[in-house]
Symmetry: C2
Subunit: 384 residues, 2 copies
Amino acid sequence: MELDENSLQKFGYIRRETSGSINIDPLQTGGMLTEAARRALVEWGDGYSVCDFCPGTVDIIKKPPINEFVHKALPSFLGIDEVRVTTGAREAKFAIMNSFRNKGDTVLLDGLAHYSSHLAAQRAGLLIEKVPSSASPEYTIDPEDYGHCIEKIIQKTGKPPVLALLTYPDGNYGNIPDASKIASVCHEYDVPLILNGAYSVGRMPVDAGKIGADFIVGSGHKSMASAGPIGILGASEEYADIVFRKSPTHKKKEIEMLGCTARGVSIMTMLASFPAVVKRIREWNREVENARWFSEQLGNMGIRQMGEIPHNHDLMFFEAPILYEISQNAKGGRYFLYKELKARKIHGIKPGLTKNFKLSTYGVGREKLSSVVDAFDEIIKKHD
Amino acid sequence: MELDENSLQKFGYIRRETSGSINIDPLQTGGMLTEAARRALVEWGDGYSVCDFCPGTVDIIKKPPINEFVHKALPSFLGIDEVRVTTGAREAKFAIMNSFRNKGDTVLLDGLAHYSSHLAAQRAGLLIEKVPSSASPEYTIDPEDYGHCIEKIIQKTGKPPVLALLTYPDGNYGNIPDASKIASVCHEYDVPLILNGAYSVGRMPVDAGKIGADFIVGSGHKSMASAGPIGILGASEEYADIVFRKSPTHKKKEIEMLGCTARGVSIMTMLASFPAVVKRIREWNREVENARWFSEQLGNMGIRQMGEIPHNHDLMFFEAPILYEISQNAKGGRYFLYKELKARKIHGIKPGLTKNFKLSTYGVGREKLSSVVDAFDEIIKKHD
């Protein structure tokens, strides 16, 4: 591509096509900025703005008060001893796994783990074993299976996995497994547990200490009303020195953080949204009620929610044979649903999906959720 | 910390203290947003906004046109075959090194390498050898020394380093080494060269192909008028498949990218600023002239620029015995200079430094640089 006037015109400022839509994409609902974060964006937008008063690493910056946020507020928020910000939940998982890497060692993942948990393990050169989930339609994880899998790994390799991970909830069905029980099972074998809270931390109450998780990982852009990419990594005292070990040559810098991580506006939007995030978690029961109500309404139309019922999270997976049938003859084929929803300013179900799809009701509110329900109803009746 | 009304008040929206100042911090001058990027910030601020139309990974998103930006515009811009965005230059360096990790292997760094190059190597478990720079005041790198060091590594370990790295320019003195010659020397031993262009890509013309670099790394927040954290990683065809290798289990996802990297507003600010960045590079000669002029003015006051003279970059290191002397008796001691500059709305020399400091003249313009020169003159005269 020649970089002339003509080709450069394609870049520059670009509008977001979905602005103004009701967005029910699970990736989007928990990451929408608060008004305070939107102001922070503009104030701190310049490249390395937060580093005006750099004392060595981003987490100890006092002006703005990142130090207090990372070392006091976040540990309290997560119920864990030490916290760092990272460039995302996946980067946090990798930092943990890379700290435990040793050729031939294994990490145990739940069968519903996000692809990035697999990639983090592969990047760290760890072998992967999976705790299977139950079959359709529930896809639940039995805590005792963590024990069975650990036993199997010991039989196979002569030693337990170096780490176990639990996705809480998983990103497909939004199931909330019994994390405390799983932590207990793992600890019977001295296996530290990573709780992947990319879809929980910032949405619902999660306390790593009460659960007994050794590590907790969260996503700012997914669930903490922050501009991406940003995540958090919490570690218990027992393991903090391993993951946050310092460079032998650059004594202030932590190796897994490569010195500094979320060194830009992302941390300032997280900090700006934080008071609102703490408060919204207190309203979690209402969010669960909204999700259940929504699931019921769609159920009445023959669109069946998979995963745990009654559901305990805003992320839900649906099977919609009725929409699939319509798509067989509808104008636009399998894209008909996307187009019908788009015409009603509803975004978030992937273009081309009809038979099954996931969505999130988080923070959408009953009024807008009613519009979404009405939209499905209308679309089905229209094509009937 | 209890997360009550009182403690939460510390967070939320916070003002940037240095807003409105002339900022000559080398970390800041190349990362200031363009107007287009500032608009993009607000439009794309929400967490995962760019993923509204996710086709699998962030680099192939068509709406907005990230695919065309990453796979056509950036390779052309950098003169290299394949490019990905990363969460920073350091993360790009680590991705390369991690792809070449093998116990007992070595990476060869220039003696002026940024600390994050050391940390990237340490995180990847590679041994580090350094090409020494010449002594004060020039601190230059002799290309032939890359050959000597490779020979030494072969003698010591039985094999050449798996990678060599050159910081172009270095972040202390702003010296521009003979990168083409260094690439040739490395290639005599079949050692691939990483060009760390965190302070060049986006400021000055750099063409990896012409130089002969096998990898090139850039920083969005340092030098491409982008909101942090974001960087770029370019690789020649020969090595692209190694660094951008895909997961065996998740075929669309690249392991070193953990699937997706700059998955948020940072990529949209880079894209928004890109036309302006391409254009500003054409004005590089003027920037060099401004830097030389500034260096000369400070030289006339007894503040001596270290590194290459005449200088070829906006990043400069100064020794100021005269300011150090003043600090011995001035009110505020070693903080006097910071305070005097702050009173004149000039920011960027670290609080407490007087004897030596670095700064950058990039994009500041002759008028504001004159104000900075006048400020130094006034401060010296005032305390004389």
